[in-house]
């Protein structure tokens, strides 16, 4: 029998390599779109999509003061309650739906202390203050206090459930009583200077468009502002700027990503004319170059402040120039399109400013259903 050798050591657990930061927005369009979004909807972010988290956080602030752990645990309990109620259905897009669907907790299981990396307490803090529910020091205002009382009515005298089954009776985050809706609407639209800006934006956009905005990444709102608009209407002018920015950001970022993945090689040229398919850009050539050309031509008609050449070689040079301005310290590619940083992808491919409008439409949906607006 052969001599059997044995390795006298054990294997190791694999550790995750550190992730590379800053892998979004290769052309720097997000800064411009954020600037516009802040003028339209201050305090609203892509994550602030459910109005009742505002009520919950006011109640938690009133009840637990500065204890973030307890607030976060209650948030998880609310989500578990939603999971028992709705399962993985998207009818009520509560926080943690994917995670809970994966974990499939059973009634006897203990409630986990955390579900997601970032809690609602962190994500909604800006809007809480912008809507006047808390003051600069983080203390509840009168309005916030009233909202806390209303949410407290839904919770009653319940203690935080320790087991999954105990979460069944907790309130639903998308089912708001009228009183809560009107208090949230007051904060969103009339309490602070930010609220007045939001109210102005809300009024300038037709209700039907807000309704359509959900699920369409606000494309319908932007498409309506591509036409001729009264320049004296400040909101309409801002929306038009956003719409034009989208005409450039979407196709150019798509094109950049294609070049990034194909070492700068792309077959064909930008055709002299092509049908304009609003905010639809093909992922591959030749449709990609045709859509890029059509979008850029349309943008140039509406706004002459930025000239983008349409010849293929000069267009690629322009992309390189924009990229080097956006990422001066950590470019993704060399000037010859050799990749310096591999495997990068924007988290949200362009259309970035649309997401805030979409999130706001979602907030409106929560409070409009109760007939407040």
């Amino acid at each position: 029998m052969a001599i059997l050798n044995v390795w006298r050591s054990a294997p190791r657990w694999v550790e995750s390599p550190p992730s590379e930061p800053g892998s979004i927005d290769p052309l720097g369009y997000r800064i411009e779109s954020d600037r516009i979004a802040e003028k339209l909807l201050p305090g609203v972010t892509v994550n602030t999509r459910r109005a009742r988290y505002l009520s919950f956080l006011c109640w938690a602030s009133d009840r637990f003061g500065l204890d973030p752990d307890e607030t976060d645990r209650w948030e998880v309990a609310l989500s578990v309650g939603e999971w028992l109620r709705h399962g993985s259905s998207r009818v009520c897009s509560y926080r943690g739906i994917d995670r809970l669907s994966e974990l499939t907790p059973r009634p006897g299981d203990p409630v986990k202390p955390r579900l997601l990396q970032q809690s609602a307490r962190v994500l909604y803090s800006g809007l809480l203050s912008s809507a006047g529910f808390v003051d600069q020091s983080g203390a509840l205002t009168d309005l916030g206090g009233k909202l806390a009382v209303e949410f407290g009515k839904a919770i009653g005298s319940k203690k935080r459930p320790k087991r999954v089954r105990g979460c069944a009776g907790l309130p639903c985050v998308s089912d708001l009583p009228n009183r809560e809706c009107s208090l949230i609407a007051e904060g969103l639209f009339s309490e602070t200077a930010d609220a007045l800006v939001r109210a102005r934006t809300f009024k300038a956009i037709r209700r039907r468009l807000w309704r359509d905005a959900r699920g369409d990444y606000a494309g319908s709102i932007l498409r309506c502002h591509l036409g001729r608009i009264d320049p004296s209407n400040e909101v309409a002018a801002l929306l038009r700027n956003a719409a034009v920015l989208e005409l450039r950001a979407l196709p150019l970022t798509r094109l950049f990503l294609y070049l990034y993945e194909h070492d700068g090689a792309i077959l064909g040229d930008v055709p002299a004319s092509a049908r304009f398919r609003c905010y639809q850009v093909g992922a591959e050539p030749p449709g990609l170059l045709a859509d890029v050309g059509a979008h850029l031509r349309r943008a140039a008609k509406m706004d002459r402040s930025e000239h983008i050449p349409l010849g293929k070689a000069r267009l690629l040079d322009h992309l390189q120039f924009r990229h080097r301005q956006a990422k001066p310290d950590s470019p993704w590619v060399t000037e010859n399109w050799q990749r310096l940083r591999l495997g990068l992808q924007p988290q949200n491919p362009p259309g970035v400013h649309g997401y805030r409008l979409d999130a706001f439409a979602s907030l409106l949906q929560d409070i409009r259903d109760s007939g407040v607006l």
């Binding site: 006298r8 657990w13 694999v14 550790e15």
Partner: protein, 535 residues
């Protein structure tokens, strides 16, 4: 005390930094491969001039312009996870449970170890034997050049510490290594099919008194398993691990644990089958203390823990991921013939496109490869003199996709076309021939030569403006010989393997371009390559 961990990309980057050779290669064998995840994680390695080959069991989802992708020619499941690194004549071997996907590289609970020292001989020689078997039965395309790795690994006695299904069933190999009863068997493994038959065989074969299974939630009830533990996120965990994908089999015998770990799941396909229907699997046999094993189970990454649970109904989560679609991976244009390498076999009606033309063609892919008819290749611009370095393809009605042509000769993203001597010199020295295209070292991520590393012929090539074409030819091939020699220092087998490869390439080139390769030149180069060592 926390147990040490390993980061796969960091080890590879560190290896190439410690050993900055001219000839650098990375070869990965994996069941699944995710191009984007691999390129992202191994960015530090891929921006260097390293030749990267990936051999996967499943078809990769898309092509890579940086790596050569190959599909293992194996009718069953090609399941090993192996990472081979080569710098000149130094090699490192890594193996374990991780696929080259985002989950494998950093999201799942995986086990892995690298070997590169003399003490690791039993493992290295076992891997050598495994690679030799793969090569012998044609699982890997010869163009991959697996022999180069084989030549760098030590040959050992028959009994290495590596078990592979190419040598018989894992159960019989494990039996040959263990004698006497086993008090307890701890198994860490995902479960995707009913392993009752295997569990029963393990119990019978080793007289196991107790079996504990460490797996994912929900743990299915398996006949013969006594305790079930599932992976749980810890209280202070920052990040949740994906699934427990590690595969370890700990046979407790007194104070010691015979640990078998690697790619094989607790499944009949991995442990009980042999021949062409079996999975291709790799396991390493380690001997560790009971305390070490217990410590390892306790010190999971990201503060995770094992929780004891009651098993659920015996429903096995069959891996329902369908096979990724058929696709072209890359192409080669050599000796006037265009060959396309695909992720699968069969007859395909393809549309092919380059800047020259778009053509429709029916190709039969045998062993994942098909030759494009010459007139079609010519239409597409693949002539004797020139060839596009990419090709678009589509399988109607799907969209156009691109593949690189001759990416095997394009290291580190180099996009110029060097002659054969230039390519070989670059391959083995990690830098370009000095006068070619006037490129600077900074342009192509190659390493500038140290003063002592530069060969006399390199200086000579640039020194005189009056060299004839023949002088340059001679100087270039002498440089190739020197580069191969330096990259293979002290390893005659490796040097011979590389010389054989260079001669083969030269012969192919001579057939393709007979005008540039008269007989006397071929004889000169062959003689130079094969005999200059003895001088």
């Amino acid at each position: 005390m926390g147990h040490p961990r390993v980061q796969l990309p960091q080890f590879a980057a560190e290896f190439f930094r410690r050993f900055p050779g001219g000839r650098r290669r990375l070869l990965a064998l994996t069941y699944r491969f995710n191009v984007a995840a691999f390129e992202h994680s191994f960015a530090q390695v891929l921006t260097k001039m390293v030749q990267v080959d990936i051999i996967s069991g499943e078809a990769p989802i898309r092509h890579s312009t940086r790596c050569r992708l190959w599909r293992a020619k194996w009718p069953g499941t090609f399941h090993p996870k192996l990472l081979l690194l080569l710098s000149n004549d130094r090699a490192a071997v890594g193996l374990g449970s991780a696929n080259m996907t985002s989950e494998g590289i950093g999201e799942n609970l995986e086990t892995w170890a690298f070997f590169e020292h003399k003490d690791d001989g039993p493992v290295m020689s076992g891997i050598r034997r495994f690679l030799e078997r793969l090569d012998a039965i044609g699982v890997v395309d010869p163009v991959v050049g697996i022999n180069e790795f084989v030549s760098c690994l030590p040959a050992g006695p028959d009994g290495s510490s590596v078990l592979s299904t190419l040598e018989g069933t894992l159960l019989s190999q494990a039996s040959a290594r263990l004698s006497g009863p086993v008090a307890r068997l701890d198994v860490v493994s995902p479960i995707s099919a009913d392993p009752s038959e295997l569990v029963s065989s393990l119990r019978q074969q080793f007289s196991v008194r107790e079996i504990r299974l460490f797996t994912n939630r929900p743990a299915p009830a398996i006949e013969g398993v006594d305790q079930y533990w599932v992976l749980e996120q810890g209280r202070h965990s920052e990040r949740r691990l994906g699934q427990a994908h590690s595969k370890m089999f700990a046979f407790h015998r007194g104070q010691h644990v015979d640990l078998f770990w690697g790619s094989a799941n607790l499944s009949c396909a991995a442990w009980l089958c042999k021949g062409k229907n079996a999975n291709v699997e790799l396991l390493v046999h380690s001997l560790i203390s009971e305390a070490h094993w217990q410590g390892m189970l306790r010190s999971l990454p990201e503060n995770h823990t094992w929780s004891k649970v009651s098993p659920g109904p015996p429903e096995f989560r069959v891996d329902d991921r369908v096979e990724a679609g058929w696709g072209l991976l890359h192409g080669t244009f050599e000796a006037g013939e265009l060959h396309l390498i695909a992720s699968g076999c069969g007859l395909r009606g393809l549309k092919l496109r380059t800047g020259f033309a778009t053509v429709s063609v029916n190709l039969t892919f045998q062993e994942c490869e098909a030759a494009v008819p010459k007139q079609v290749a010519r239409k597409l611009g693949f002539t004797g003199q020139s060839a596009p370095n990419g090709l678009d393809w589509r399988l109607p009605p799907s969209a156009w996709q691109s593949i690189p042509i001759n990416a095997l000769d394009r290291l580190g993203g180099a996009e110029y076309e060097a002659d054969l001597a230039g390519s070989l010199f670059e391959m083995y020295s990690g830098r370009n021939l000095p006068q070619q295209h006037g490129r600077s070292f900074a342009d192509d991520h190659s390493d500038p030569p140290g003063r002592d590393d530069q060969f006399d012929e390199e200086k000579e090539l640039t020194r005189s403006l009056h060299q004839g074409e023949l002088d340059q030819f001679v100087l270039k091939w002498r440089l190739v010989v020197r580069a191969i020699g330096r990259a293979s220092t002290g390893n005659d087998a490796l040097r011979a393997c590389r010389i054989r490869d260079a001669v083969a390439r030269m012969t192919k080139e001579a057939i393709a371009r007979p005008a540039e390769w008269p007989q006397y030149r071929q004889r000169f180069v062959k003689d130079l390559l094969e005999n200059s060592w003895h001088g």
